[in-house]
């Protein structure tokens, strides 16, 4: 079976090109409406301030994982043979992880490169939609029953998505 762990990490200059495109978008916004441009820039700085500590934590975690977890071990806990334990780590990890999803991308890409299954990574992404600190607010807006049903369905949906992803990736790799 062809391994579906052929991870394409797109390097090169895509980040710099994208940054250039965004810079041009800001210039256009400033030209059309300077106040909106200033507000957008301010909002961007606020996001940087908010994510900086979490980003530091993620990179600290990445360093620790790279130091203490050999690729073989990642493969064992999150790879093809990880079983129920792998699902548990992915689903719970997603629920407990804090901050915006894109902060976790580098660490997840790193785990994937070392053998973590695509299905588990997708499940992790999906259970990230359960925001524990915001649950009381969700309850106050939509009620306890709605929040409970939605939360349980998200966990179930994350697992089903992971299963579908693993199956499709494996089929595509085989074809």
């Amino acid at each position: 079976m062809a391994s579906h762990k052929q991870k394409k990490v797109v390097k090169g200059k895509s980040g710099l090109i994208m940054l250039g495109v965004v810079a041009v978008m800001y210039l256009v916004t400033f030209y059309v409406n300077a106040d909106a441009g200033k507000e957008a820039l301010k909002a961007g700085f606020e996001i940087v301030k908010m994510i900086a500590p979490i980003l530091l934590f993620v990179f600290f975690l990445m360093s620790l994982l790279n130091t203490f977890l050999a690729p073989k071990s990642i493969s064992k806990h999150l790879g093809e043979e990880s079983g129920v334990k792998g699902w548990g780590i992915a689903l719970l990890g997603g629920i407990l992880s804090h901050g915006p999803a894109y902060i976790w991308y580098p660490m997840l890409a790193d785990l994937r490169k070392h053998g973590a299954r695509d299905g588990l990574i997708m499940a992790f992404f999906y259970t990230r939609s359960i925001k524990l600190p915001w649950l009381p607010l969700m309850i106050s807006y939509f009620g306890f029953a709605f929040t409970l049903i939605l939360t349980l369905l998200v966990i179930l949906g994350a697992w089903v998505q992971g299963l579908i992803a693993d199956k499709l990736m494996s089929l595509w790799d085989d074809s």
Binding site: K7, K8, V9, V10, S14, G15, L16, M18, L19, V22, A23, M25, Y26, T29, A36, E39, A40, A43, G44, F45, I47, F59, M62, S63, L64, N66, T67, A101, Y102, Y105, P106, L108, A109, D110, D118, I121, M122, F125, Y126, R128, S129, K131, W134, L137, M138, Y141, F142, A145, F146, I149, L150, L153, V154, G157, V160, Q161, A165, L168, M169, W172
Partner: protein, 147 residues
């Protein structure tokens, strides 16, 4: 001990290299989020719903995907939409896709995970936002009916 310190040094170096590699794309995504936060306003979101539950569920999923901000913002907007008569299906799809889909994060996701992973994950998230919203409201209605 020596081996551990060596491993730690290599790990920190590799992590730093990853950070440097990702940084331009991460800054671009943050820049986009700043722009979207200002340009996609709650008023604009309100104006897009039509009153048809099926159409609104699709619209809710799409709008959630292009909206950015803290999750509580989606609850506040969702609560207001409900008050204005938008269906719970659409509101649920909106608050779900708000956190599971992210148009502005796509470039970073693509750069780190590749085309196939990014397309599949976002497609599944889109479909599941609709499926889960339908199921949530259906189950809620069922329990409300027997209560």
């Amino acid at each position: 001990m020596q081996i551990l310190s060596e491993r730690l040094k290599i790990a920190v170096k590799n992590t730093f290299k990853t950070l440097l590699m990702v940084m331009p794309m991460l800054l671009a995504v943050i820049g986009l989020m700043g722009l979207f936060e200002v340009l996609v306003t709650p008023d604009m979101i309100h104006s897009l719903f039509r009153g048809d539950p099926v159409e609104d569920t699709l619209i809710g999923t799409g709008i959630g995907a292009i909206s950015v901000g803290q999750p509580f913002l989606s609850y506040a907007i969702g609560g207001e939409l409900l008050g204005e008569g938008v269906s719970l299906y659409a509101v649920t799809a909106f608050i779900l896709s708000f956190v599971t889909l992210g148009l502005v994060q796509l470039p970073l996701e693509w750069a780190l995970f590749g085309t196939r992973f990014t397309l599949l994950r976002n497609f599944l998230s889109f479909v599941f936002a609709i499926v889960i919203s339908l199921l949530t409201v259906y189950i809620l209605g069922f329990f409300n009916g027997i209560a």
